[in-house]
Amino acid sequence: MTLSRGLTSRQLFFVSAAYLFSGFFVFRTRGVSVMVTVFLLWSLFSGIAFMMKHRERASFVRRIFRIIFAICSAVTASCDVFSLFNFSAVDKSGVPPLVFTFSLVAIAVFLAYKIKLVGRLAELTPYIFAAVLLTAVPYMKASLSLFDGSSLSVFFFPSVPLLLCDESRNTTEHPSAFLSAEKSGLHPLLSSMLGALVGTLLYIPFSAADSAKNGLISVFVWTLFLIRLSADLFSAVRLCKEKDGFLPTVAFASFVFVSFAVISKNPLL
């Protein structure tokens, strides 16, 4: 089986970068303070999660954290879905936002069960990015301000990397000695944090870009967003499968139910 569950550290790097980059893009983040806060939160949550995952005994604190993370994942997934309705590139995609969103969620649900595929897709993003860069130059403009604020939704996501870190430790796909060596230690955590940093820095030149005006940027951002959504769903599903996952399951199901109920009742869509 080449699609065994789990990500390698390299894949974790690219998934993290794609996750933050697309998050900033879709939530139209403009402020440096927001970006820095998001990155710090990512690192903090990843660190806590990493330590928690490496503790042998199941403790009360661990259980609490798991529930918090599950709720964060569910909320993030819902926010991500909602964010598409206000995203200009989706409005001009050629199909109604409802069709776009539901099809994207459908693909993401499929990918949430094949996280390895998400990892490989993430590994391909640098090549897509290189192609996009050629057409995106006229649209790039670094214009970050310090405190112009942005959507709070991006704050919800930091639960994701922990599970991906965990999975990367269990991967058996790659037989190389290098990867065997990196199975232990902080490698996955560092990869994730480095990826998040790269994603954050890469976003800066794109911060003022209007993806709706360039088709290729749109496609690139949608692809990254698909990775983000798949990672959210994967995290939520993975947490729900845990031993004490009943509460997170209820939380996640409630959020999804409410999200879809709101979407379907919105007369504008």
Partner: protein, 480 residues
């Protein structure tokens, strides 16, 4: 077991799983003689004329006390002191002779088949620099052509018979210790499971053993060049030779192989790297450009700069068909002309070319069938398609699907087609090796050869994704 027998057995064991090793044993009175040689690598006539006939004649003349060394009628005769020397000599194309009571390990007789270029250079894989030799329809000769390039006892050959009626000889070759055991086992299993009445070409075997019955992109490679197949064997692949076909199959086949050309390794890495990027860009243009063009001009005209939009609108004046239909029509016309050109005899080919040029040129524009902008896009996509021959056919299908999706749903359709296409490739595997390796999953050793290439001397480790372990190409021992 006496010394002669044990020596013979020890030497035979060195070439286990090597079906093209031939052993000829005979006796001259009480003297037991054994000749080892590799079929087709050695000339059977020379063995008969220079070894067997003279020895028989000498025995007839002199009786038991005749000297073997002096009886052999060969200009190239040497004495071998050890098994290693004998192995080397055998793999270099000589016949190794052992006889009862010899004080030496063995004798080496130069009986190498010195036939020159056996097959013409294949039309599909022309090179300016490099050997101009191709495989032939003879399976045994093809194995010999590979063995000529790899003088190692680790190069194994196993034979099978496929086809209930044709009983076609199919053999696999691999280098023991480099090719994964699981891979060899899987290839053998799939060949043995091939259930067909006749095998007329290696293409039939390819379809029977590939991953997925309806795979769009190939998961089994093929080549008509012995040098290319030999190089692939050193990377841990398995070659499949089908008697009656000049095309040898190699597995696993990865996506990156379509962009690698034998000649790249004889050029400066800078230029080879540049050409690789050009090929990748050509592939992207070939499959995605017409779809992007259709999507933007059908659903998102606001994305096009006004000046460019004016030029396109001018070129489309007087055309009744929408741009989407126009792209489809021109594509179908082009594929029609291409198919006719392929099937027609060469003598008629030029005439077909002229008709094609008229059909897809000025006449089409004047007749109001197509606009110049669409013709340029389609022609560019078609031209780029020819740069990567292995993906010529799948690209046509994928491009067509992309144009349909883009035409109906705009950039959203393009996105869906793009993501599904990339995911399908990312999830695909060829005989257990991820299809997009070494870029997804990333393999640092493999990335020295794709997408851009480093110097050949830097490629010291065989692709880990294929071999399953780190194997030094330059050293004799595995790196721990």
């Amino acid at each position: 077991m006496d010394i002669y027998e044990s020596k013979k057995e020890e030497f035979r064991q060195r070439f286990e799983k090597m079906s093209d090793l031939s052993v000829r044993e005979f006796c001259c009175g009480r003297l037991r003689i054994c000749i080892f040689y590799i079929s087709n690598f050695c000339s059977k006539n020379m063995i008969a004329e220079q070894i067997i006939n003279p020895l028989s004649a000498a025995y007839g003349r002199e009786g038991n006390a005749f000297s073997v060394e002096s009886s052999i009628a060969s200009a190239s005769l040497s004495i071998l002191g050890s098994g290693d020397e004998a192995e080397e000599s055998l793999l270099a194309g000589s016949a190794v002779l052992m006889y009862d009571g010899s004080p030496r390990y063995a004798l080496s007789v130069g009986t190498k088949n010195e036939e020159g270029r056996s097959g013409n250079e294949p039309d599909t894989e022309n090179v300016i620099r490099g050997p101009h030799e191709g495989f032939t329809e003879n399976g045994e000769s093809n194995a010999m052509l590979i063995r000529r390039r790899l003088h190692t006892a680790k190069l194994k050959k196993l034979n099978f018979s496929v086809g209930t009626l044709s009983k076609t000889d199919v053999s696999i070759m691999y280098i023991e210790g480099i090719a994964r055991e699981k891979l060899v086992f899987e290839v053998v299993r799939r060949i043995k499971n091939t259930d067909v009445a006749t095998v007329t070409d290696s293409g039939m075997i390819e379809l029977c053993i590939q991953d997925g019955k309806y795979a769009l992109f190939p998961t089994v490679g093929n080549s008509e060049r012995p040098d290319k197949v030999a190089a692939k064997l050193t990377e841990g692949r398995v070659a499949i030779i089908v008697d009656g076909s000049p095309v040898v199959l190699t597995v696993p086949y990865l996506f990156c192989e379509g962009f690698q050309v034998t000649e790249d390794y004889a050029k400066s890495p800078w230029y080879a790297g540049f050409v690789r990027i050009l090929r990748l860009a050509a592939m992207a243009i070939s499959v995605w450009l017409p779809a992007v063009f259709t999507a933007i001009l059908t659903h998102h005209e606001y994305m096009v700069p006004p000046a460019t939009l004016n030029v396109i609108s001018e070129s489309r004046k007087g055309l009744a068909t929408p741009i989407f239909s126009e792209v489809i029509i021109v594509f179908l016309l082009f594929e029609l002309v291409r198919e006719v050109g392929l099937r027609m005899p060469k003598a008629v080919g030029s005439a077909v070319g002229i008709v094609g040029a008229l059909l897809l040129g000025d006449s089409a524009i004047e007749a109001g069938i197509a606009s110049s902008s669409v013709l340029i896009i389609v022609a560019l996509a078609a031209l780029c398609n020819f740069i990567i021959p292995p993906y010529m056919n799948p690209s046509v299908i994928y491009r067509f699907i992309m144009v349909l999706l883009a035409g109906f749903f705009g950039l959203y359709g393009f996105f869906i087609g793009f993501v599904c296409g990339v995911l399908a490739l990312a999830g695909k595997s060829s005989f257990g090796t991820p299809y997009l390796s070494p870029i997804a999953p990333i393999s640092p050793e493999g990335m020295k050869d794709f997408p851009i290439m480093t110097s050949v001397s830097q490629m010291k480790i065989a692709p880990v994704s294929i071999t399953g372990k780190r194997i030094k190409r330059t050293g004799k021992e595995k790196e721990k």
